[in-house]
């Protein structure tokens, strides 16, 4: 083990904030400009976006920044490119872009581009609603997803008549929940008595425009929290966090069946809300075991139990994992624990390995 900060000898980087932001924006049909030189957009679209069959997704474009753009700070050229793309769209038989989004990457972060100002300028010059997500490629996906979702509700959600029996779900992207899990979640909530379930954002831009019509909100991952807090504060929408108790993903059942009967100390590694829900589910069969939730992403203190932890460094994970006899987590993480002799049960997390099931 090494104490060099940032050094990962085994684990590749997890989904970054750029991917989180793009994941929220992808199903909305807008023009999404990754303000990069090309590689970031390649990672986002080529690796972190599994939804290839959406009927009218956002158009993901790279700003195609070059060295002189960065050195000279030629924001005007970026705006000209944006306007040209919008003009091309306007020239089509049916213009499609309902909004423009600028997603930050390391290059604008290093040269200090004010993306928010640029978004204001773009909105003023084009008349199209424009948001900016000041991601920088350094932070994890949940921070980018959270910023994008917050920017969207601030821009698009307006007061409207409440629809009784309608639940709005926040924090749903394929980086956290597979498309199959999203369906299971929706069905489970309908079974629980909700008449209408809207996965805010994942169900398209209209779902965000009409978010204020929800009777209540449910936040299923930390990336939905900031938007929920905003909607509560501005529009009085109450929210809950976590998964409904009635919900059981098939994978959870499979994990439960594979648990070694003598497990005493279990570690669940997932995004915090999913890990918490799985813990509750497993406690029914292992009431005596100590079950700890760990995450390499955002940990909301008020939703954590004693012993739950977050890790940023690979060595932090290696040290923390030593004391568990059973670990439930994405199998990619196991690479960092070559000497682990306990039971490992795979719980794929797209934001970690890019693997789905």
């Amino acid at each position: 083990m090494t104490d060099i900060k940032g050094l990962r000898l085994y684990l590749p980087p997890f989904a970054p904030d750029t991917s989180g932001a793009a994941s929220v924006l992808y199903p909305l049909g807008g023009l999404v400009v990754i303000v990069d030189a090309g590689g970031c957009a390649g990672n986002i679209c080529g690796f972190d976006e599994p939804r290839t069959d959406l009927p009218a997704p956002s158009v993901m474009a790279s700003a195609g920044l070059r060295d002189m753009d960065a050195i000279m700070g030629r924001d005007d050229r970026l705006l000209a490119k944006v306007k040209k793309a919008l003009q091309q769209d306007a020239d089509t038989a049916s213009p499609t872009f309902p909004f423009l989004a600028l997603v930050g990457t390391p290059v604008p972060a290093v040269i200090g581009t004010d993306l928010t100002a640029l978004a204001h300028l773009a909105e003023k010059q084009t008349g199209l609603p424009c948001i900016a997500v000041a991601s920088n490629g350094i932070h994890a996906y949940d921070r980018g997803a959270s910023a994008a979702l917050l920017a969207l509700v601030q821009k698009f959600t307006r007061p409207c008549q409440t629809v009784p029996g309608k639940l709005g779900v926040l924090g749903v992207t394929p980086l956290d929940l597979t498309l199959s899990e999203q369906n299971t979640l929706r069905e489970s909530l309908l079974t629980c008595g909700w008449e209408q379930v809207s996965l805010l954002g994942a169900d398209g831009l209209a779902s965000l425009r009409e978010a204020a019509s929800c009777e209540r909100l449910l936040v299923v991952s930390p990336s939905g929290l900031a938007a929920a807090e905003y909607l509560q504060e501005k529009l009085g929408l109450a929210y809950d966090t976590g998964f409904p108790q009635e919900l059981t993903f098939p994978l959870w059942t499979a994990i439960k069946q594979q648990l070694p009967p003598g497990s005493k100390r279990l570690l669940i590694i997932q995004q915090q809300f999913a890990a918490n829900a799985l813990r509750d589910f497993l406690r029914t069969c292992l009431p005596e075991a100590e079950i700890i939730c760990g995450t390499c992403f955002e940990l909301v203190p008020k939703l954590a139990e004693a012993g739950d932890f977050t890790f940023r460094e690979e060595t932090e994970f290696q040290i923390a994992a030593q004391s568990f006899d059973t670990i439930i987590g994405d199998s990619l993480l196991r690479r960092a624990l070559p000497g682990f002799n306990g039971t490992w049960l795979d719980y794929p997390h797209f934001a970690i390995s890019g693997k789905t099931y």
């Binding site: 060099i4 050094l7 679209c45 390391p106």
Partner: protein, 429 residues
């Protein structure tokens, strides 16, 4: 309607219009254009290319986002047996690193820790840098020397500077230079040559190697086929280099300077006459003559067979394939086939083909994958019945198709024969 220009219009203009240039527009990141904009997203980018060095390992020094897709490379072997699992490590930067440059101090120590963590000692360590260090102006050569001294192994920087992709030394050119920069001068072997340009081997069935052997060469080195550092170092003994991809030209020039290995450039073309001329010229340079007829005949037979049976097919030809879309379109047009659409980004050199194509097929439409306007491309308003190239396949999911973008590189007559054979098979699927 997506932007396009006809071959005739483009030939008459004689220059590349703004709509076909990358610096005037946003770059659409559809699956059709992904590996143009970010070579590492599919196929070989800088990271995979760097690891073509036998026994090398790579430390990626970057914010998390730059290394994200290595999760796929680090996964267990895929269907082709490709996995780089243990060969990557990461030094992830945070804001403080970027502001203070403190990460640079850690690199020698990180390299040592990386080496110590691997069961097999590596042959060399590559430091992969990204746009951040390009902007910071990091002198990574100096840091690599420091790390090399600390580790007792060669340590070389590998520049994944996407910002510089339209400079005179873009990343995929620079990485090819780096790959051969570790060769040490060696006595020449008159019966040895190197093939430069590709990161995956030439197709086994290509006639190039048999022809070179017929000319008396006994060792034909391809980096991707070399397994050990000793084999790699044998490349320094080559009598000459054959450059099969122009992105390797600078590497060949550097080898000429450092190792006194001259080079000859060949192009991958699909026109049978051009292939024959190229081989005849090469044979002359090597002081030999080759019996090309059997190879040429086999290729011609496959081509004629296809053209006779499928002359009514209407082609859409992309640029995400093993070839030059404009040269390939010209070849098909010369063979009597109809090319309705090309999806590509013409370069100045391509006017050689475009002008000829304009005479044969003036109405051929040239689209650019990179234009955001391609989001409105509709298969139903196109006449294309056969899509050739991974990007063409994306636009025409319902047409007969062939991606023609395998990693194994087709070359020469074999490429022509195999292309038409596979197109024939695609017509029967």
């Amino acid at each position: 309607m997506p932007y396009f220009i006809t071959a005739q219009e483009l030939a008459e203009q004689g220059t590349i219009p703004a709509d076909l240039r990358t610096n005037t527009q946003l770059i659409y990141n559809s699956p059709a254009a992904l590996d143009f904009n970010s070579p590492g997203a599919q196929g070989f980018g800088v990271k995979r290319a760097g690891l073509a060095l036998p026994g090398s390992i790579m430390l990626l020094i970057s914010p998390a986002c730059c290394g994200r897709n290595t999760a796929a490379l680090a996964a267990p072997p895929d269907a082709q047996g490709v996995s780089y699992g243990e060969r990557f490590a990461y030094l992830l930067l945070d804001e403080s690193d970027i502001v203070t440059g403190r990460h640079l101090q850690k690199i020698p120590q990180a390299v040592q820790a990386f080496i110590a963590s691997r069961p097999e000692p590596p042959t060399c360590v590559l430091l992969c840098l990204t746009c951040v260090d390009a902007l910071l102006g990091t002198d990574m050569e100096r840091i690599a020397r420091k790390a090399s001294a600390a580790a007792g192994l060669p340590v070389r920087p590998c520049y994944m500077y996407a910002l510089t992709r339209e400079s005179i030394r873009p990343p995929m050119v620079a990485v090819r230079e780096m790959l051969y920069s570790l060769l040490e001068p060696a006595p020449k072997n008159a019966r040895s040559c190197n093939l430069l340009g590709f990161f995956a081997p030439l197709a086994d069935a290509s006639e190039l190697s048999p022809l070179l052997k017929a000319a008396g060469l006994r060792t034909i080195n391809e980096l991707s086929r070399l397994r050990t550092w000793q084999e790699y170092q044998q490349m320094a003994a080559a009598n000459f280099n054959l450059v099969l991809n122009s992105e390797a030209r600078r590497a060949a020039q550097a080898m000429q300077e450092k190792l006194q290995i001259p080079f000859i450039e060949l192009k991958r073309v699909y026109g049978l006459e051009q292939i024959t001329h190229q081989y005849q010229a090469l044979a002359k340079l090597l002081g030999t003559s080759w019996e090309l007829a059997p190879y040429a005949d086999a290729a011609r037979t496959a081509q004629e067979k296809f053209c006779a049976r499928h002359k009514d097919e209407i082609f859409g030809i992309g640029s995400r394939l093993n070839g030059n879309a404009f040269e390939l379109a010209l070849t098909l047009a010369r063979a009597g086939l109809t090319v309705a659409e090309i999806y590509g980004l013409p370069q100045a050199d391509d006017f050689f083909y475009i002008k000829k194509l304009a005479k044969l097929s003036p109405e051929t439409r040239i689209y650019t994958n990179l234009s955001v306007s391609m989001a409105s491309y509709s298969e139903s308003s196109s006449k294309v019945t056969f899509a050739l190239g991974a990007d063409a396949v994306y636009y025409h999911p319902h047409a007969r198709s062939l991606a023609w973008n395998e990693e194994r590189q087709p070359f020469g007559y074999q490429a022509v024969q195999e292309l038409f054979t596979q197109m024939e098979a695609a017509c029967h699927d």
